[in-house]
């Protein structure tokens, strides 16, 4: 029940933040950001300790809550955890702190409602990472969208409505396909076993013929490929990222894209092993195309956030490539890439936010020479750009390296092509850094404040730790055979 407590707690403290914003209690004027910050810290601690102290072995899925919900359709409220979901939930909670810290000064208007939406999104994402009843999963999958869309549409930049609608329609239509597949699976379960079931664990034992499995898999695959995003479904991402407020971009890149990767790992590959193996060549091609296309497009951007957004597409291509190689090393690469990209893209978007607050522009042509006036910001900028193009010693390198090594055993040609993406990432990484921090100084900007230092250094620290000692993460994912 601990997880339910965390989800509900986040939601309720969000409401509290909304309600109490700017209202005096006992002579103290409450501020939504403090409520949100304290809530996230408390619930993160609760989660970490309860997982740490739990006697369960999270190597396999452990059901930790099971309550019946809609009896007539045999739908239950079931939550389960394993190392994959725990890792992702921890990432989510950590980035939640980052999100609150980066919006600390940025959000001045309607801040109560803002923090409500932010916390509601986290609650929904944690639900997505832990739900194993598919109806419940879908429920959370959609519920996390609503506050996220609100974040983009209310606090975003100039073209925010368009971006929010595009984001919502892409995910909604694709997830309806998934819903159809979910319902079909439930009825297949009814045909084979005798009762309707939406439980993921029940579905693992279903026998599907190849053609049917392919269609059902595609239903899930498209939904997750849109979220990931993979190339033909990516076009919502640059808009959404660019128009979202800083915390929104951090959230999108850091966690929301990971729900797509999580879905691919948990549902597509495990529910339809045969079908995904047959589908692997196409998926891997999509992955490689995403890597190259993302890198190429990133290089051509003049908008800081848009550049980082395209680089996300490129990085998520590695996830897709490695996942569909069905190889243990590649799988470990996927896990590291997911976490590392979560941290590094969050870092770059926070940086974009910090710069935007100073010069009110995201355009690279308005930037340049910031190193002189803000050397600390420049240092972090260099480190984060280096992380994005996979400098050894930082976590992204480990992830990409493992992914490529693992996948090479299965798809050598594809991996060689994908490796060109690394060159591309070095180019766009350097372009990003140079245009922002080097060159003639156009403006003088104040250096990082204490709060911004905390944000940047905590992100960098994690990147370095994971880069130097990836075993911290990998020890939980040994011997996982897909």
């Amino acid at each position: 029940m601990m997880l339910t407590f965390v989800i509900l707690g986040l939601l309720l403290s969000g409401s509290l933040a909304w309600y109490s914003d700017d209202k005096p209690f006992f002579g103290v004027r409450f501020q939504a950001k403090w409520v949100a910050l304290v809530a996230v810290i408390i619930f993160s601690l609760i989660f970490v300790f309860s997982v740490y102290l739990s006697p369960l072995n999270f190597q396999t899925l452990q059901t930790i809550a099971h309550v019946s919900w809609i009896n007539s359709l045999n739908i239950n409220y079931t939550l389960a955890l394993d190392h994959l979901s725990i890792t992702l939930i921890m990432l989510t909670l950590f980035l939640a702190l980052i999100c609150i810290l980066v919006s600390w000064d940025e959000i001045q208007e309607k801040s109560g409602f803002y923090y409500f939406n932010l916390l509601a999104t986290f609650a929904g994402i944690i639900g997505v990472f832990s739900a194993v009843d598919m109806f419940l999963f879908f429920f959370f999958w959609e519920v996390m969208l609503l506050p996220m869309t609100a974040l983009i549409a209310i606090w975003g930049h100039e073209k925010r409505y368009f971006a929010a609608i595009k984001f919502f329609i892409f995910t909604q239509v694709s997830s309806l396909l998934m819903l159809v597949a979910i319902i079909a699976m439930a009825y297949i379960h009814q045909q084979q076993v005798g009762d309707l079931s939406f439980s993921y664990q029940d579905w693992l034992s279903l026998e599907l013929n190849n053609e049917l499995a392919l269609y059902l898999m595609l239903g899930f695959f498209i939904a997750f490929a849109v979220k990931l995003p993979s190339v033909p479904f990516h076009s919502w991402l640059p808009d959404a990222h660019t128009q979202a407020p800083t915390a929104g971009s951090v959230l999108l890149a850091g966690v929301l894209l990971k729900t797509g990767a999580y879905g691919l790992i948990r549902f597509v590959i495990q529910l339809f092993p045969q079908a995904s193996e047959n589908f692997a060549p196409i998926a891997v091609t999509l992955g490689v195309v995403s890597i190259l296309y993302g890198a190429k497009m990133a290089f051509a951007q003049t908008d800081f956030k848009r550049l980082v957004a395209y680089s996300s597409i490129s990085h998520m291509g590695f996830v897709m490539l490695a996942l569909f190689s069905f190889n243990e090393i590649a799988y470990q690469g996927v896990i590291v890439t997911i976490v590392a990209h979560g941290l590094s893209s969050a870092a770059l978007f926070s940086l974009a936010g910090m710069i935007y607050q100073r010069i009110h522009s995201r355009n690279l042509t308005d930037m340049g020479g910031f190193w002189q006036s803000a050397p600390r910001m420049g240092g972090f900028g260099l480190a984060f750009a280096a992380a994005a193009f996979g400098l050894p010693g930082l976590a992204n390198f480990v992830g990409e390296f493992l992914s490529l090594v693992g996948a090479y055993q299965v798809f050598p040609v594809m991996v060689i092509l994908a490796a060109f993406g690394l060159i591309g990432s070095a180019i766009y990484g350097m372009v990003l850094f140079q245009k922002t921090f080097q060159g003639s100084s156009l403006k003088t900007v104040p250096d990082l404040s204490c709060r911004e230092l905390i944000v940047s250094s905590s992100l960098l620290m994690l990147l370095v730790i994971l880069g130097l000692y990836p075993n911290l993460l990998l020890q939980y994912f040994r011997g996982v055979i897909l």
Partner: protein
């Protein structure tokens, strides 16, 4: 009817039948009483209260019957004309609720006019009576009777405020088109009768024309004409042209009446007719349904995209919703009708609640607009910034629009979930694709509507300073809106509360 072979005993209406039919009898009695009331004293307040009273009593009686066990199984047959079962009374409950809301909302609209509006309330009661006859009908004659009572009273209501700009146009349009539709339907019924020799829905198996012999031309034309008559009322795709104009031109409570009472009743009778006539065994009928459903989903959603007038937008969105609902007609066998009914009723209740909510807020802003004078129609622009000024109304609108879009946490999602279940069971992939695409297009106008509530423009901020930007919402209305909000959330998260009631 006494010559009908089913009724062998000399009593036409036994006590049991009387009890089963009592809500409708009570309603008719109430109509007579309100006529007498008018003759006795003409008072706006009194007739309104009395109408509400009748509706509440009818509603309570229906719910009482539903919670008893008089309606279990295939229902009570009352002569050949009527058949009362759980499903028909469940939709009658929906009808009564919505009519009650309409009457309550009308009070504030009619207050501003000078005359005494007895006829208005009487006509609303007649509409409800027509709807009641429709939902319990089991015979083409009673179907036609209900249809006409409903339509003719609606014509009166549609053009009720004759001094309004579009009133005469709207009334005439509705009168002529509705009459055309009913004459088509009558012709269809005649064709069907010419082949089967039977006007009752419940065809005994030896004269069932569908499975036994190939479909004769008259029969299929008959069914087609009948369906087109009903499709007109439901404003399904090729017969939808009237609906935006009439939605826009009618007084807002009447638009709500048309969007809910009339459509719920027509859809219920359509399901009843199709299921008991076994139309679903007939492939070409299913094909027609599929085509009409797909057309409605696409046409409704696409035409709604550019609408700025909220009433017109609701008209188009309702076209799409009844397109989705047609999915329940594609059942494959009689065993699945239970599930189909459940899905249809759930979807209808979600649709009803969402419509009631949106039209309530629409009416409030219309009243507000009236005080400020000017154009009567409410456009999306008029709702800008509502979230920051009228939290409750805005949240209500948001939830209702999300329900219409079928997003979780709302009833609309569960309704859509039922429809998808149904479509997956019967492998109607075309309808599924239509639903998915339609919902995708739908979002492109539902979301801007929601975003409009958050838009915060400088001009509007000035209005807040004047105090004129804030709507005056009475406590009663606030309470009502709060109830709507809570119930739609509650039923959306715990759909079992409703489906248990439907299943039992």
């Amino acid at each position: 009817m006494s010559t009908s072979p089913e009724i062998t005993n000399s009593v036409i209406l036994s006590t049991e039948m009387f009890i089963a039919l009592s809500p409708i009898l009570l309603l008719s009695f109430g109509i007579v009483l309100s006529l007498l009331l008018i003759a006795w004293r003409r008072s706006q307040k009194m007739i309104a209260l009395f109408t509400q009273f009748i509706l509440v009593i009818t509603l309570l009686l229906t719910i009482h019957l539903l919670s008893g066990d008089i309606l279990v199984g295939s229902g009570t047959q009352i002569t050949t004309l009527l058949n009362v079962d759980r499903f028909s009374y469940l939709s009658f409950v929906l009808i009564c609720i919505s009519a009650f809301v309409v009457v309550s909302l009308s009070r504030s609209v009619l207050k501003s006019e000078v005359e005494v509006h007895d006829e208005y309330y009487l006509l609303i009661l007649l509409v409800v009576l027509g709807a009641g006859i429709l939902v319990v009908s089991d015979h083409f004659a009673s179907l036609f009777l209900g249809f006409e009572v409903l339509s003719i009273s609606l014509v009166g209501l549609v053009g009720y405020f004759r001094e309004h700009e579009h009133a005469v146009e709207t009334g005439f349009k509705y009168l002529i088109l509705s009459a055309t539709a009913s004459s088509f339907m009558l012709l269809g019924i005649a064709f069907i009768y010419s082949q089967t020799g039977n006007l009752s829905f419940a065809v005994s198996s030896n004269v069932m024309p569908w499975s036994a012999q190939p479909l004769q031309i008259f029969n299929s034309v008959g069914i087609l004409l009948l369906f087109s008559g009903i499709a007109f009322k439901l404003s399904l795709a090729p017969f939808h042209f009237w609906s935006p104009d009439i939605y826009q031109g009618s007084p807002t409570p009447i638009t709500l009446l048309m969007a809910t009472v009339s459509k719920v009743a027509m859809f219920t009778v359509l399901i009843k007719c199709c299921f008991s006539q076994n139309y679903f065994n007939n492939e070409s009928f299913i094909e027609i349904i599929t085509v009409v459903a797909l057309l409605s989903m696409l046409v409704g959603n696409i035409l709604a995209l550019k609408q700025q007038n909220i009433k017109r937008l609701m008209a188009y969105s309702s076209i799409a919703h009844f397109g989705y609902l047609l999915i329940v007609l594609t059942v494959s066998s009689l065993q699945n009708t239970e599930f189909a009914w459940q899905g249809a009723l759930f979807y209808l209740s979600a649709y009803l609640l969402a419509n009631i909510a949106i039209f309530t807020v629409l009416l409030i802003s219309e009243k507000h607009r009236d005080n400020m004078s000017g154009d009567r129609d409410i456009h999306i622009v008029d709702w800008h910034g509502m979230f920051w000024k009228n939290r409750l109304s805005a949240v209500l609108v948001i939830f209702s629009v999300l329900a219409l879009a079928g997003i979780p946490l709302t009833m609309g999602f569960v309704g859509k979930f039922y429809l998808l279940n149904q479509a997956v069971i019967f492998k109607s992939w075309w309808l599924i694709s239509g639903l998915v695409i339609g919902s995708g297009i739908g979002l492109a106008y539902y979301l801007p509507l929601i975003f409009a509530l958050f838009k915060d423009e400088k001009t509007l901020e000035n209005q807040v300073v004047d105090g004129s930007g804030v709507y005056l919402v009475t406590t009663g209305k606030q309470l009502f809106m709060f109830t709507l909000l809570i119930s739609s959330l509650l039923f959306g998260i715990f759909p079992d509360l409703v489906s248990q009631f439907i299943y039992r």
